[in-house]
């Protein structure tokens, strides 16, 4: 947060992006696909982190923002035959609008009530997706046609179902969001967000309209999550109500807690770690939820700062 060492921070993050780029050429097929998926979901986690980590607002309903992007993009391709860029923007717009409405309502509460209210709004959203199964496909979901998932830019045609294109698109989104959130949290606005987390009353007495700042954070956070959802629908071609379920509100919390709240790289590390733990253990147990449950409890009990948070505390104080 201090003015020190911006160069160091940016080079570290550019280095991570370069590493992910290089991995594209060496990873075996299976891991190549997995990392692409992880990058998209890490964007979801980064959006969550902005609100939870920096502003200190613990939402239990972020699945609705992810799903708003997912359905917004997926359904406009599926039903309206929109092009990929239009659908992507539609998804983001849906998420931003939803976040604005939810923010105005939910921010009237705080603490535990905020957690419950966001959870309930997400529950309503998820039930609505089931209720309107005629359009959304309900819990079966919809598969977005392969032919529609083609991006035409000028003269070139990019087939989003092609693994390399998919990987690079995911990386592009991930990089933009990573650098953008890094810039936001290092900016003056980021300083205000942290101040709200640390002591909202004091921040007000410095002349800040904390409600508006929090609302802006909810909208930015929701929009990033929607971008992740929209990208998921377009890159992986599936839209379903499971993505709106409570579980998908809990997962970003888990990823961020694991990776380290209020760290720029924490969301990626957390998502990566959790995905691979699940992947490796799935060889000998199907008890996926058990791992999630145990991880949550162990994290809050013994490791509340997460991986990157602990590294920052012990070794690298400059880490953003």
């Amino acid at each position: 947060m201090t003015e020190a060492s911006p160069a160091k921070a940016y080079s570290l993050h550019l280095g991570v992006i370069a590493l992910l780029f290089a991995l594209s050429f060496v990873l075996p097929d299976y891991h190549h696909g997995l990392i692409a998926r992880i990058m998209v979901l890490a964007v979801f986690a980064m959006g969550y982190n902005l609100l939870f980590g920096y502003v200190g607002l613990l939402s239990l309903g972020h699945a609705m923002f992810f799903a708003a992007g997912l359905y917004g993009a997926g359904l406009s391709v599926y039903h309206l035959g929109w092009s990929v860029p239009a659908a992507f923007l539609a998804g983001i717009a849906c998420g931003a609008l939803l976040a604005l409405v939810i923010g105005v309502l939910a921010l009237r509460t705080s603490g535990v009530a905020f957690m419950i209210v966001t959870m309930m709004f997400a529950q309503v959203f998820s039930l609505l997706m089931l209720y309107f199964a005629v359009w959304t496909g309900g819990d079966q979901g919809l598969v977005v046609q392969q032919a529609a998932r083609v991006l035409t830019l000028g003269g070139t045609t990019l087939d989003l179902t092609n693994p390399t294109v998919r990987y690079m698109s995911a990386l592009a989104l991930f990089s933009i969001v990573l650098l953008a959130t890094l810039a936001v949290v290092r900016s003056r606005y980021g300083r205000v967000l942290v101040a709200v987390r640390e002591n909202e009353e004091r921040t007000k007495m410095l002349g800040y309209d904390t409600f508006s700042n929090k609302l802006a954070a909810v909208v930015v956070s929701g929009t990033i999550c929607a971008a992740s959802g929209a990208a998921y629908a377009l890159l992986f071609g599936y839209v379903g109500s499971s993505f709106a379920s409570v579980q998908y509100s809990i997962l970003p919390l888990l990823w961020v807690l694991l990776g380290g709240a209020a760290t720029a790289l924490g969301p990626l590390i957390g998502t990566l770690f959790m995905y691979y733990v699940t992947d490796i253990t799935s060889g000998f147990t199907s008890a996926y939820l058990l791992i999630v449950g145990v991880a949550l409890i162990l994290l809050v009990l013994f490791f509340p700062k997460g991986i990157m948070g602990s590294i920052r505390q012990r070794w690298l104080g400059w880490l953003p």
Binding site: L58, L60, L105, A106, R108, T109, G111, V112, A113, M115, I116, V117, M120, F121, Q123, V124, L127, L128, L130, Y131, I250, L253, L257, A287, Y288, L289, L290, V292, G293, V294, A295, L296, I297, L299, V300, L301, P304
Partner: protein
């Protein structure tokens, strides 16, 4: 069937829901009221009660009533023990921090659910009711067992209320609820009260589940709806207010029974959840509660 009898049937079904819901929600409300902990795993304690009831009643041969009674006694005790262990090992170490305990109870939810799936399986299994007497009304017959559930639940609610208001244990709990630091200073073993309250809350959910399982079957995902409905009841009734909880349980149970008789259950759930979220946003002390301290 005409509209009147139809409505009566819906109301009876709603009353059964109310009875079970009141018990479950009372558990959630006690835990929140005394400990300020939002127990997201509450529905899983309910489910655990039902699954154990199935296990016990199948393990015990002979008349179905025998197995049922055994389940009614043993299942809540096991669930209470599980809750106590969870409270000692996790919640206490978190110092009952509201946000950390929510995350931790979400963890418990997943663990219990997964263990139930692994050891009990994905099937829904019935438990035979202890008796199958049908009460004949002029328009339709109605299950005597269902009415006995209402009676049993009412009895238990009265008993809990008496414990809370008339006994020393209840006094300790109320003192802790009112001001845990002062209570501690006056030598009340706040720590043990917390453990006991968390176990008691889980046991109430388990008893409710044992009562309902002959009607609705045991399933590893059956905890979700009671959790949601209990939240609704506790929020509408005012967080931590027992009287409000009871009134809200009857209100929600009846309207749930009646609404889902005439509308799609999904739509009913959507409306109910939305209404409750709005109550929490605009009237956080609940409809019946007074402003929180």
């Amino acid at each position: 069937m005409h509209f009147g009898p139809h409505l009566l049937l819906a109301a009876l079904e709603g009353l059964v829901t109310s009875a079970v819901l009141a018990l479950t929600a009372l558990g959630l409300s006690l835990v929140f009221g005394v400990m300020r902990v939002v127990n997201v795993a509450h529905g899983e304690f309910f489910m655990l009660g039902a699954v154990l009831a199935w296990a016990l009643s199948t393990a015990i041969s002979g008349h179905p009533a025998l197995g049922f009674v055994a389940a009614l006694v043993i299942a809540p005790l096991i669930v209470g023990a599980v809750a106590l262990v969870a409270e000692r090992m996790v919640l206490r170490r978190l110092n009952y921090n509201p946000e950390a305990t929510i995350v931790a109870t979400i963890g418990m939810l997943y663990i219990i659910q997964q263990l139930a799936l692994t050891f009990y399986g994905p099937e829904a299994r019935p438990v035979e009711p202890p008796f199958s007497y049908r009460i004949l009304l002029p328009w339709f017959g109605y299950s005597g067992y269902k009415l006995s559930v209402v009676a049993a639940s009412a009895l238990l609610l009265v008993a809990t209320w008496l414990v809370l208001t008339r006994t020393k244990v209840g006094l300790l709990m109320r003192a802790t609820q009112y001001d845990s630091e002062t209570a501690q200073a006056f030598g009340i073993p706040v720590d043990r009260v917390y453990g006991g309250v968390f176990a008691l809350g889980a046991m109430l959910a388990a008893i409710a589940a044992v009562l309902i399982v002959p009607i609705s079957q045991a399933h590893y995902l059956m905890g979700q709806d009671p959790l949601l409905l209990s939240f609704i009841v506790v929020i509408i009734g005012g967080l931590g207010s027992l009287r409000g909880t009871l009134v809200a349980a009857v209100l929600i149970g009846l309207s749930d029974g009646i609404i889902s008789m005439f509308f799609s259950p999904t739509l009913a759930k959507i409306i109910a959840t939305l209404v409750v979220a709005m109550v929490l946003v605009f009237r956080p002390q609940g409809l019946f509660g007074t402003a929180s301290r």
